[in-house]
Amino acid sequence: MNPLPRYIEKSLEKSQPDEVEVKAYSDRALIIARAKNLLAYANRVTLPYEEYDFSKYVEILKAQKAEKHRAQTIMSTMPSTIVNLHQVNSEEAPEQPNSLPIADKPATTSSPALTPEEAVLREAGLIVEAEALSIESYDHFQEKANV
């Protein structure tokens, strides 16, 4: 069972968040992290590492996306029989003991640099694709600001 974000525990009293909620939480966390980093950049201040800095997640996402794209490109150039074989193997093969030295592991499948908090977030599914948001702005303040 995934751990519950605190917000859900305190306010919704649900046992598990649904997809919409999880996406909303991860979107907001990423937006806040990016907004803070952009502000630091605009100030030309180097951000020291902070315990809950989400900025590196963007890099993780980019790496994952690049890896996925690379895999898809390779798959698309394979003859169909090999692709099928690959799919069967990947679905049915039991987990192999990892005999590769750490330095030879693909960068995106293992995450030696992850902190415990990041590992928890990944497990909780709070790190997802940072998609463009189609969300109405906060109406009340838009009206107030009116700019």
Partner: protein, 127 residues
């Protein structure tokens, strides 16, 4: 025909729920943001929150001689500068000290909001 209508309704319903959820999250974040600047004077209402990647809002409301006054400052962050517009007036460049203060507030906001709202609870995380 009917399935198309149903599909359209479901999409709209999901969008509405998404928007409501997002607004609710912003309101809760804003309540946390309001506490970052110290004690709120009696009769004042304050909100501070991150609207999107480029925008921070600071809102203050209070009563003066029986009349409600409000002030809304909207900070727009660009790659090379920070602009602000107060109460819908023209944008102006933010000075160095104000920019640093805003960054400090954003750091605190980020830390508090993510810890209090979005990080998994350590109790359930280890359960």
């Amino acid at each position: 025909m009917f399935s198309k209508l149903l599909q359209g309704f479901q999409v709209k319903s999901a969008q509405t729920r998404n928007q409501q959820l997002y607004r609710d999250l912003l309101k809760r974040e804003s309540a946390i943001g309001a506490e970052l600047f110290g004690e709120i004077p009696e009769g004042h209402r304050r909100e501070f929150f991150c609207l999107d990647e480029h925008t921070w809002i600071w809102f203050e409301a209070w009563y003066e001689q029986g009349k409600e006054r409000t002030m809304t400052v909207r900070y727009e962050v660009r790659q090379d500068s920070i602009l602000k517009a107060q109460d819908g007036q023209h944008y102006q460049l933010v000075g160095e000290q104000e920019g640093k203060n805003l960054l400090e507030a954003a750091r605190l906001y980020s830390k508090r909001v993510i810890m209090d709202m979005y990080l998994p609870d350590p109790i359930t995380a280890t359960a």
